[in-house]
């Protein structure tokens, strides 16, 4: 593309395209810089573990969204493609003669190939149609393979799973991946490569047609494309990148079990992707970051984290079907009109009391949980840095008051926010 810039008569057009090229490159470069320097901000090992988990989830969620968002295929059993890729990598780790000859950094490719191989087999019959039939087949196959984990013990290792040791690989420029930080850089390298390849995929003829088939399979057929084959190629590509995620999981945790295959894991990746937003390429990235934080950070402070994640998911489906990415992108027109500043105050007035109210509600939930489930005699509990007796009346009154007042203010100020929103989305007017 760059080779045409100087000589072509349509120079302006080329410059425009080159401009949009830098515009598309900028987020990628920023992301890479952030990823590289992140361990210098969060230095402890648990932060590294969280970031590794996040990176793996991002790859998995992006791969899942190749189907859900871009191809319109709802899969209920996608964990198996990552899982099988991961198991394959574990077996390679345990084949010491072979494993000693390859550097660890290329191991995820094998995961990808196995994930892709499985997707080629399953896709050959599951992609015949989209919609309910596809969803049901994906669920059935997912369950089938998850059930195989206790039947085909040689491959899946039964209930203990398969474990291995990544450090037996051929050292890569002297790096043996003993340290968590080394694994982190391996993981983010694969994250960036996979994300870039998946993004580019969406810009290729078959990637564009995946969108077309999603929107209107019949029209696509009358344009010369078999919607079945378009779906098949998306499915196989998705299987490949899921397998990469599985391989990264194997490297990070050095163990894979039935948990990596089951419907819970498949459900989680659907949740992550939807939470982030299926309509935009970067949606699953946001979803993976948000969900991993919920899962790791929130689970440190409450046993009920899954409950909150569930509530968040239901709220997303009901009120923001575009997910977090959709919520962000809703604001682009406002910024283009230069009216974003007008939303700051209304947002503060509505969302701040709302957040406080929700925290009050969470306190009530936690107190109820403590009241019902704490060991007999253990009446003392601590939330939001406050210790009190959960059997006293006063804390309940305070929490209830905070909830009612907070949510009440939100309800009262919501119309003003809506008005401000409409105003900010309309061109013109004094600024």
């Amino acid at each position: 593309m760059t080779d045409q810039i100087t000589t072509d008569p349509t120079k302006a057009l080329e410059r425009m395209r080159a401009g949009s090229m830098t515009l598309t490159l900028a987020p990628w470069l920023i992301a890479i810089v952030v990823l590289v320097f992140l361990p210098m901000v969060f230095t402890n090992n648990s932060a590294l573990t969280i970031m590794n988990q996040m990176s793996i989830t991002i790859v998995f969620a992006l791969a899942y969204n190749m189907l859900l968002g871009q191809g319109g295929m709802l899969s209920f059993g996608h964990a198996v493609y990552a899982g099988v890729g991961g198991f394959a990598c574990m077996h390679i780790m345990n084949m010491s003669d072979f494993f000693e000859t390859i550097p660890l950094v290329i191991l995820p490719i094998f995961g990808g190939l196995f994930g892709m191989g499985l997707a080629m087999i399953v896709g050959s019959f599951s992609t015949r149609s989209a919609g309910t039939v596809f969803a049901m087949i994906s669920l059935g196959v997912g369950e089938l393979i998850a059930a195989c984990s206790v039947i085909i013990v040689a491959f899946f290792g039964g209930e203990e799973g398969i474990s291995g040791d990544r450090t037996y690989a051929n050292p890569f420029f002297g790096i043996e991946f003993l340290q968590q930080i080394e694994v982190y850089y391996l993981t983010i390298a694969w994250l960036v490569i996979s994300a870039a390849l998946m993004y580019l995929w969406s810009r290729t003829p078959v990637g564009r047609m995946a969108n077309a088939v999603r929107d209107n399979p019949e029209r696509a057929e009358f344009l010369g494309y078999s919607s079945r084959w378009v779906r098949y190629y998306s499915f196989v590509a998705s299987g490949f990148f899921c397998g990469i995620a599985g391989g990264l999981f194997a490297i990070n945790y050095e163990i894979l079990t039935e948990e990596n295959l089951n419907t819970t894991s498949s459900g989680v990746i659907l949740l992550v992707t939807f939470l982030g937003g299926v309509g935009f390429f970067f949606g699953p990235i946001i979803g993976a970051i948000a969900f991993t934080l919920l899962q790791t950070v929130l689970s440190l402070s409450t046993e009920l984290w899954a409950f909150y994640a569930g509530v968040l998911f239901v709220a997303t489906v009901m009120f923001f079907p575009g997910g977090l990415a959709g919520l962000l992108m809703m604001h682009v027109p406002v910024f283009k009109l230069g009216k974003a500043h007008r939303l700051v105050m209304p947002y503060l007035k509505t969302l701040l009391p709302g957040a406080i109210g929700l925290l009050g509600l969470a306190a009530l939930v936690e107190m109820t949980f403590h009241f019902r489930h704490a060991a007999p005699g253990d009446e003392e509990m601590t939330i939001f840095w406050t210790t009190f007796n959960s059997h006293d009346v006063l804390p309940w009154v305070i929490a209830l008051a905070i909830t009612v007042i907070g949510l009440g203010i939100t309800k009262a100020t919501a119309p003003a926010l809506k008005e401000a929103w409409n105003e900010a989305n309309t061109a013109g007017g004094a600024s």
């Binding site: 593309m1 395209r17 580019l200 995929w201 810009r203 290729t204 003829p205 078959v206 990637g207 564009r208 047609m209 969108n211 077309a212 929107d215 209107n216 019949e218 029209r219 696509a220 057929e221 009358f222 344009l223 010369g224 494309y225 078999s226 919607s227 084959w229 378009v230 190629y233 590509a237």
Partner: protein, 253 residues
């Protein structure tokens, strides 16, 4: 005129006991503009769907340039150079106008299922799509989601998508249905322009459009063609007058 562009022999279609198409023989020559008219429920759209393999015929054959299309899927027929539009607008509403046309170009330009080309960097695709948009006067609407266009613009876009692949047999199903007079004139001119030199087969209710565009007309009544010929001959045909045209022409006035 050695082999006809499209040849139908003994084409029949039944849904259960109901015979919708009851034996159609029709031959349409290269570069001919052929209109199929008839009352509602005569089977015009069904005939279109049989030709393009949206439905499988109960019996009979469809030949495109002498080649039997039996057993082929719609996408395979499209690749052989037959393209169609639909009675109910059938586009990609969530995609931009430009993307709609570009998708229609992909197969014809040989990109197939490739994942080693980036569509944004292909000048042939961009320029080809822009040329089509120019022809259908939607260049200014280039970056709008297709679903936000006006009805007439969406119909124009569908014609654009239909012709974009370079098919030499174009089938249009009621391209002016539901349009105002101005819009109808606009679409008629557009059809004339974009189908120059190609075989055109269209279903149409507007007699003004039919007699203005068509070289030959077939009248379909209850699944059978009761007359085929030049517009003037068809107009004069007594059976046509009786079955359909009299009433239809009266309705025009």
């Amino acid at each position: 005129m050695s082999t006809p562009a499209l040849e139908l022999t003994g084409l029949k279609k039944s849904f259960g006991k109901a015979e919708i198409i009851r034996g159609i023989d029709l031959s349409i020559g290269k570069a001919e503009r052929h209109a199929i008219i008839g009352p509602n429920g005569a089977g015009k759209s069904t005939l279109f769907n049989l030709i393009t393999a949206r439905f499988a015929p109960t019996s009979g054959t469809v030949k495109l340039h002498g080649e039997n299309l039996a057993g082929l899927e719609p996408f395979q027929i499209n690749r052989k150079g037959l393209s169609r539009s639909f009675q109910i607008t059938n586009i990609f509403p969530a995609m931009t106008v430009f993307e709609n046309v570009r998708c229609a170009l992909l197969w014809a330009q040989g990109y197939k299922y490739s994942f080693w080309h980036l569509v944004n960097q292909k000048r042939d695709l961009t320029e080809g799509a822009e040329a089509i948009l120019d022809q259908i006067n939607l260049l200014e609407r280039r970056n709008l989601p297709a679903g936000t266009l006006s009805y007439a613009e969406q119909r124009a876009l569908e014609i654009g998508i239909t012709i974009a692949g370079g098919a030499d047999v174009i089938m249009l199903d009621e391209p002016t249905a539901g349009m105002s007079n101005t819009e109808t004139d606009y679409i008629t001119d557009l059809i004339l322009k974009v189908t120059a030199g190609k075989t055109l087969i269209m279903v149409e209710h507007d007699m003004g459009v039919v007699f203005g565009l068509a070289d030959r007309i077939s009248v379909l009544v209850y699944g059978e063609i009761i007359a085929t010929g030049k517009p003037a001959d068809v107009r004069a045909d007594a059976r046509v007058q009786e079955a359909y045209l009299g009433a239809a022409l009266e309705a025009e006035h």
